[in-house]
Structure formats: structure tokens, C-alpha cells
């Protein structure tokens, strides 16, 4: 689903990427800017933590041309100018005729300095704009308490939670609420190459399953006898016809079966129908 969200196949107005210090989400955000830039006519980037050049240098030239950078760090006291920042973004949006994408890195500063409801309404108001295709915001989970994070997650229809990282591999949990109201949840992984471009998406559940079974495999390998089956053996086992299993081919034989009874000489065979008194 991450790939669909990234490329715009799955439509959503506001995406919240949540991360922590151990698993930073800024590299995912970079890729998001790249994809969003190709889809939209204009891109507005609000930076609070890194210099705008950080994003600009990484992005391809055609996306760079579409970008408008708002340096949130410039305002020496963000606390006072939150309204101005909001006005900056909305005026930039209205200035362009086509579709606009907005990316914020990150909303944590706003949350810390201003109250949570103000930040929530700020995000909601931008995302509700008719020209705005998508708003992507980064949130640091470890900086805020759980209630603040939950409140913000309620505002966003889509939440990508960065779960873990191991070198170039990242795992994330996605909760996506479609405009129709259907809620989809999934756990997915992706890789980044040396230039931090995302590739090789996939569902993380199967991977996690295999990693959970690994210790068991190690145990069985130490046994003096064989407990595990090879694929060929598993295949052969699945082809074995079990004697009492009712499958399509065995049914005809069962229906044609009869009971032959040969009474003994001494057998007191009753000719009468034993069920004669029953009303059947």
C-alpha cells in the first residue's frame, strides 16, 4: 500500500509520517517530496529542522523548479508567528492555479511551542483547501506524549508509522482510511539505496513470520534426526490420498456400496421388519 500512497494511486488529503530517534522518517519524506512533486503543479515545503538546501540538493531539477521553500527556522520566534506561517502557506496556495502539494518537516516544533489543537486545526485547514492535493507532515513520536500523538493521528486520514530500521531496510505500519470510509491497516517494509531512493516494497508480515521461526529452525538443525521437510517432501505429502477423506472421486464408490449379510445356521433371523411400529 505504501507504494500506492507514494505514487498517488491511493488518494488521501493528509499523511502523517511518525518517527522516533532510532528510526528517522526524513528519508521517506524526501522520497515523498520527489513523488508528490511529479504529480503536482506546485510544491510548498515548510522546513523547521534542516536548511531548505538539504531537500533542494537531493531532489531532481524538475521538482526543484516547482518548489516554494518556507524556512520556518527563520522566524526567530515561531511562537508568535504561527498565524503568519499559516497565512504564508495559504497565500502561496492561492497564488497558483493548479494543484498544490504541501510538505512539513516537522510539526513537532509547532506542537511544542503552540498548543496541540492549534496545530491540528492548522493541518486540517491546509488539507481542506480545494487546490491542495496532499499534505505530508513529519511528527517525532518520542518528543511528545501519547495523547498529543493520538490527537494528531485522528486528524490525519493516513498515518505511516516508522517502526524499525536495520541498515537500509525500514519497516513501517500504515493505517489508511479511504474517502469511502474503509480503514486499511498493513505492515510493510522498504529498502533505500545509497542515494536514499526507495525501492523494493513489500508486506512485512511474511518477513516477520520467517524471522520468528528462525530460532525454531536452529533448534531442529541440532537434532540427530530429521524433523523438517524439504519442499519436494512437502509436495509428495500433499499428494497422498488419505483413506477416509471424502473427496469428489470417492463419493460414487460410497453410494454404490451394499451390505451383504449371510446368517449363521444357528442365527435366529427375524423376518419381520423391526421398524414396523414406527410411523416412517
Amino acid at each position: 500500500m505504501l507504494q500506492d500512497l507514494l505514487t498517488g494511486v491511493e488518494k488521501t488529503s493528509l499523511i502523517l509520517v511518525t518517527d522516533n530517534a532510532l528510526c528517522p522518517g526524513r528519508h521517506l519524506l524526501l522520497n515523498w517530496i520527489d513523488h508528490l512533486g511529479t504529480r503536482c503543479d506546485k510544491l510548498i515545503l515548510v522546513c523547521f529542522e534542516r536548511h531548505p538546501d538539504f531537500f533542494k540538493n537531493w531532489l531532481p531539477l524538475d521538482v526543484q523548479k516547482k518548489m516554494t521553500l518556507i524556512d520556518g527556522r527563520k522566524t526567530a520566534d515561531i511562537g508568535r508567528t504561527n498565524v503568519d506561517l499559516m497565512a504564508d502557506v495559504t497565500s502561496e496556495v492561492s497564488r497558483t492555479g493548479g494543484s498544490v502539494g504541501v510538505v512539513i518537516d516537522s510539526v513537532s516544533m509547532l506542537l511544542l511551542v503552540k498548543s496541540t489543537p492549534i496545530t491540528c486545526s492548522f493541518l486540517h485547514n491546509i488539507a481542506a483547501g480545494s487546490q491542495v492535493t496532499q499534505v505530508v507532515a513529519l511528527l517525532h513520536r518520542d518528543v511528545h506524549d501519547q495523547n498529543t500523538c493520538r490527537l494528531l493521528e485522528h486528524v490525519a486520514p493516513t498515518v505511516v508509522e516508522m517502526a524499525s530500521t536495520g541498515g537500509a531496510q525500514y519497516t513501517c505500519c500504515i493505517r489508511h482510511c479511504r474517502p469511502t470510509g474503509k480503514v486499511l491497516k498493513s505492515r510493510e517494509y522498504f529498502y533505500t539505496d545509497d542515494s536514499f531512493h526507495i525501492y523494493n516494497f513489500g508486506s512485512a508480515t511474511s518477513q516477520d513470520g520467517s524471522s520468528q521461526h528462525k530460532p525454531q529452525d536452529d533448534l531442529t538443525s541440532k537434532l540427530p534426526f530429521n524433523l523438517s521437510l524439504t519442499d519436494a517432501e512437502k509436495d509428495a505429502r500433499s499428494k497422498v490420498k488419505l483413506p477416509y477423506l471424502k473427496d469428489g472421486s470417492g463419493d460414487s464408490e460410497a453410494s454404490s456400496g451394499r451390505i451383504f449379510y449371510q446368517p449363521d445356521d444357528v442365527d435366529d433371523f427375524d423376518e419381520e421388519d423391526p421398524d414396523d411400529d414406527l410411523d416412517i
Binding site: A21, P24, F48, D53, D71, R73, K74, I78, S108, L112
Partner: protein, 268 residues
């Protein structure tokens, strides 16, 4: 001492830090050596330094510097490559003046800071940077601003929001492409202090290099004094793969010995 730590960081001692934002988290009582390391490293490079001393006076840093073979006094008074802001005294004065009498001389930046306005303090740091820029003594002219330590302000009652804005503005000022300087901030951390932890968590995301010094998890040891974790995060102008390093250390009078976890000579 300088050599060992440089080796651990795997850096070129002649041009580090270069446009970095380094944060030092002290979860141990014996971890001030990193501030001295950075101050003396910059002094060796003959680099312009602005030092905001909030936890000790100049005499303390000077005597440690002399042990490490540096004369911080001459750097401050003769070569003028070091601007030492005696913030410890200014800050205590600001607390005294706000409660008993008002100083009529130059405005004390910390009085403003306690009221929630960091502009005056920022201006005084900016003025120091400009003074240093005129001198241009060093081989490396990019200045370094060191704050030791920020948690003093937090525990003295400065609002965390105000400190965040201060750090954010300072970060913008020092590491901007125009100045290309470095910012080093040290903090004392205590698990029970939620505000300090919140500030530390945010600074982690803001920083480019994070260094954390902790006591040994297994308790006090005579031969291993603590552990040090360093992490390189995204730099200011381009993304970077995260690199982590981990070591244990033993402090002696003038030196520090670093060794891989579990490889102390006392253990082997």
C-alpha cells in the same frame, strides 16, 4: 586525550567539527570531559570559539585546558580567538536583580530569557560571532559556539518552549550557509526530569551528531567508568546514513582510555 577521542569518532582532528550540530547528553557525573575535549580541540585548531559557560567559571575551563596543554587565557585575552561569556555570573545576577533590585546598566540577557524572550541573548552571541569574524585568526575561520550546559537554564526556571526557540534560532544562525559554523550543546539528563528528556528528544532530531555518556548499566566499577555512544545523523545539507559507535572508557587525571565494551585491561 584529544587523540584517543578523535580516533573513537574516526574524524580528522584538523577540521572537525565542520558545520555540525553536536549534542552531548550526560547521564553520568563524570562526563564533562567531552566539553573540554571540544573546547581544546577547537583551540588547537586556532578556531574562533564562543563559549557560553553556564555551569562553571572561566577559571575552571582554563585550568583543565592547561592540563591538556592549552592556554585558554591567552586565547581569550591576547589572540582574541575565544569569547567566553561568563553566563554563570550573569545568570545568577539576573535572578538576584529580578527579585531584589533592578540593574540600570546594560540589559542582562538572562532577565529577558527568564521572562520568555531569548532575543537579547541571541544578539549578544551574534555580536560575539561578528567580533570574531573580523579577526579571522585561525586556519579554519568557521566559528564554533559551545553551550555548557543547557539544562542549567531549564532547572533554573526558563520555560522549555523559550529554550527550544532559543536553540532553534541559534541553530539557524550558526549553521547557516553564510557562517557555516558549528554548534555544540551539552545537557545533563535525568530520567525523572521529563522536560529535559523532551528537550533532549527534540534536539536529537535537530542534531547532526549525537553523543551520549552513561554510567555502566551493571553498576560502579573501579576500572571502567562509563560508556559512550555516538551517532551520526543527517548532515545539514544532505542526507547521510546513520553510523553508530560505542565504547567504554576509564578516566585518569589527564587522560582517558577508551576500549571496546568488555575489553578493559582490568577484565582481561
Amino acid at each position: 586525550m584529544l587523540g584517543e577521542i578523535c580516533q573513537f569518532f574516526a574524524i580528522d582532528s584538523s577540521n572537525f567539527p565542520s558545520n555540525d550540530h553536536i549534542i552531548i547528553g550526560n547521564r553520568s557525573c563524570q562526563s564533562d570531559f567531552l566539553v573540554h575535549f571540544f573546547l581544546n580541540l577547537c583551540e588547537k585548531q586556532n578556531r574562533p570559539v564562543v563559549f557560553l559557560g553556564l555551569s562553571q567559571s572561566f577559571g575552571h575551563y582554563n585550568s583543565v585546558g592547561q592540563k591538556l596543554g592549552n592556554n585558554l587565557g591567552s586565547a581569550r585575552d591576547e589572540r582574541k580567538s575565544l569569547v567566553f561569556l561568563e553566563s554563570l555570573f550573569d545568570f545568577s545576577e539576573s535572578i538576584a536583580s529580578s527579585s531584589t533590585f533592578r540593574s540600570t546598566t546594560a540589559p542582562n540577557p538572562f532577565v529577558e530569557l527568564l521572562k520568555g524572550d531569548s532575543t537579547t541573548l541571541l544578539k549578544s552571541i551574534n555580536a560575539s560571532l561578528e567580533t570574531l569574524a573580523q579577526i579571522q585568526t585561525g586556519i579554519l575561520s568557521a566559528p564554533v559556539v559551545i553551550i555548557d550546559d543547557l539544562s542549567v537554564l531549564l532547572s533554573a526556571g526558563v520555560a522549555p518552549e523559550c529554550l527550544l526557540l532559543f536553540v532553534n534560532s541559534l541553530h539557524e544562525l550558526v549553521t547557516s550557509p553564510r557562517i557555516k559554523g558549528s554548534l555544540i550543546i551539552s545537557l545533563h539528563l535525568d530520567k525523572e526530569d521529563e522536560k529535559a528528556e523532551e528537550l533532549w528528544a527534540y534536539l536529537t532530531h535537530l542534531s547532526t551528531v549525537k553523543v551520549q555518556v552513561t554510567d555502566l548499566a551493571s553498576g560502579y566499577c573501579r576500572d571502567v567508568h562509563g560508556e559512550m555512544h555516538a551517532e551520526w545523523r543527517d548532515s545539514h545539507d544532505k542526507p547521510r546514513k546513520s553510523i553508530t559507535r560505542h565504547t567504554q572508557f576509564k578516566l585518569s587525571d589527564k587522560n582517558i582510555s577508551l576500549f571496546a565494551p568488555g575489553m578493559s585491561a582490568a577484565v582481561l
